[in-house]
């Protein structure tokens, strides 16, 4: 008789010589974190998109409409009833607004950055400035502009103050990160000569960070230009943003909207071009 044990062994696959599974990586916090964050974000997105309120709009229909609008904007732009001169003036004033607030942001941002950098000042002052700046940054530019417009009235002054506040806070952070990246020996070598604080700042710190200073300032200029448009539209502060708001939201002249958008894109391209040139100049020195 054949016992069942034998038949079993024949059917069973021969076992591999026992070699342990070779692991390719250990559990690491960083890997787990990346995967967890991605999964978390995707789940949130899935939930949000399935619960999105579309106000009963026929999506297909709306997309068709959107295409028509885009077509009017980008393929048949014209200056509309406002005329080219007025639009160019508005564009200029928005650009000036952004330049002005960037200058304010750069000057005060640098001063605060020096006072807030961990390797330059005492810890309490630095921490204090950083907290205040974080709070200022947390409030959107548009809300700053609206707040100031209660006191100064709707208009340029409120817009300038609103944009400046956010710029100062943003640039303080950016500059102080550059300053904190400076090698400590540079600072110490001047400290031992007995140089005064602000002498050290302008003889050692400034030349070291000038390239990144210029970089960040121009990044902020581009942001401020976008913000100047936003504030013009949403806080009635004038400029090209206001014209854009009127054309697209009140008179529904999408040809003019397109024209304005092209003007804005043109300016941002020019700003970007100048930024690249100047950055290269400072990097090569």
């Amino acid at each position: 008789m054949i016992n069942s044990e034998e038949t079993n062994t024949i059917i069973q696959k021969p076992k591999l010589p026992d070699s342990p599974e070779i692991k390719l990586h250990e559990k690491s916090l960083s890997r787990t974190m990346i995967i967890a964050v991605f999964i978390g974000l995707i789940l949130i997105t899935g939930y949000t998109l399935t619960h999105l309120d579309t106000a009963g709009v026929q999506i297909n229909q709306a997309f068709k409409e959107l295409i028509t609008t885009l077509n009017q904007m980008f393929l048949q732009p014209n200056a509309g009833t406002d005329g080219v001169t007025l639009l160019l003036q508005a564009l200029g004033s928005s650009l000036l607004l952004s330049i002005l607030t960037t200058i304010i942001g750069a000057v005060f941002g640098f001063l605060f950055a020096v006072l807030a950098s961990k390797n330059l000042t005492n810890a309490y002052l630095g921490a204090g400035i950083r907290v205040v700046m974080a709070i200022i940054r947390a409030i959107p530019t548009i809300i700053w502009a609206l707040i100031f417009s209660i006191v100064c009235g709707l208009g340029t002054t409120a817009a300038i103050l609103g944009l400046s506040f956010h710029s100062v806070a943003y640039l303080t952070k950016a500059y102080s990160e550059s300053i904190e990246g400076i090698d400590n020996s540079t600072i110490e070598s001047l400290k031992v000569t007995g140089a005064k604080f602000w002498v050290i700042i302008f003889q050692a710190i400034w030349p070291t960070i000038v390239a990144s200073f210029v970089s960040w300032t121009f990044i902020r200029l581009e942001i401020n230009f976008a913000n100047a448009i936003a504030v013009g539209a949403a806080a009635g502060a004038g400029g090209i943003g206001y014209q854009l708001f009127v054309a697209s939201g009140m008179s529904f002249d999408f040809h003019e909207t397109g024209f304005i958008v092209y003007l804005v894109i043109l300016v941002t391209f020019v700003l970007e071009f100048i930024a690249v040139k100047i950055r290269r100049f400072y990097l090569n020195r």
């Binding site: 949000t48 006191v151 100064c152 949403a234 697209s248």
Partner: protein, 263 residues
């Protein structure tokens, strides 16, 4: 060769010119915009004094809190979902368009141009034309943030790929691995942390931008702030701002912690 004295003098001139130039632009700019610097400066303490009195949330404004909170959560969810969808689209486009992993010169130029175009169309324009077709709904806000984010993320991702993945990409190509193997085994593992870091940054940024979009399109936290503000319920508006501060700083802190672990 310049003499040292001459060089220093030249440098001094250079600095003076730049300071004069910037100062000149500032003064002229103020004049053109009719911006009174002194009054502007004085407005700041005035504004804060006013804020201290009127914006301070009172016991009364507590009743607004649930509604504010609900809108704020909604806004954060919108910011997250628009960023994530934008990131998924952008990573594909960036892979097609980067100098390292791209298909060909034509596609690379095209992608660069399109990304730059998207990035530079003002958020106001997106909001308004979307509002026209999609009406006052969350979907409008979502689309506006999405289109804006795509422009930024494509460029950021392309730069990340070019900076971080070109060397490993070359090495794997030399082993005879094919395109998809190289992408999944070398490029993606290498760039994932930086990508995630950018996504987190974009979420923070979108929460702030969502306020603007909200004011224009009547959705989320921006809408509710606008209502309180326009109806002079300033304590409620102050409450809203406070809630925004807490959420944005909270998000920033969480992001920084995540970055510390993954980078």
């Amino acid at each position: 060769m310049q003499s040292p004295a001459k060089f220093l003098k030249h440098k001094g001139w250079h600095q003076t010119t730049i300071i004069a130039l910037v100062g000149g632009i500032y003064v002229l700019g103020s004049w053109f915009l009719k911006f009174d610097n002194l009054n502007g400066l004085l407005a700041i303490p005035k504004a804060f004094a006013w804020l201290g009195v009127n914006f301070r949330p009172t016991a009364n404004s507590m009743e607004y809190l649930p509604r504010i909170w609900q809108k704020l959560i909604q806004t954060v969810l919108l910011a997250i979902s628009s960023t994530v969808v934008a990131a998924i689209i952008s990573i594909f486009v960036a892979l097609l368009g980067s100098k390292v992993t791209g298909i060909n010169g034509f596609v690379q130029t095209l992608v660069r141009g399109v990304a730059s175009f998207f990035r530079n169309i003002p958020l106001v324009a997106w909001s308004m034309i979307l509002l026209f077709s999609f009406k006052q709904s969350d979907f409008t806000g979502f689309l506006a943030l999405l289109l804006m984010s795509i422009g930024y993320l494509i460029r950021a991702f392309m730069e990340i790929i070019e900076d971080e993945a070109s060397e490993t990409m070359l090495a794997l190509k030399a082993t005879g691995a094919n395109y998809f193997q190289v992408i999944f085994q070398a490029v993606l593992p290498q760039i994932l942390p930086s990508i995630l870091s950018w996504i987190l940054y974009m979420i923070e940024n979108n929460v702030r931008d969502a306020t603007l979009v909200g004011i224009l399109t009547g959705t989320g936290i921006g809408f509710i702030f606008d209502i309180y503000y326009k109806s002079f319920r300033f304590d409620a508006a102050g409450m809203t701002v406070l809630a925004i501060i807490i959420v944005v700083i909270g998000l920033e802190t969480i992001s920084n912690q995540i970055r510390k672990v993954i980078l």
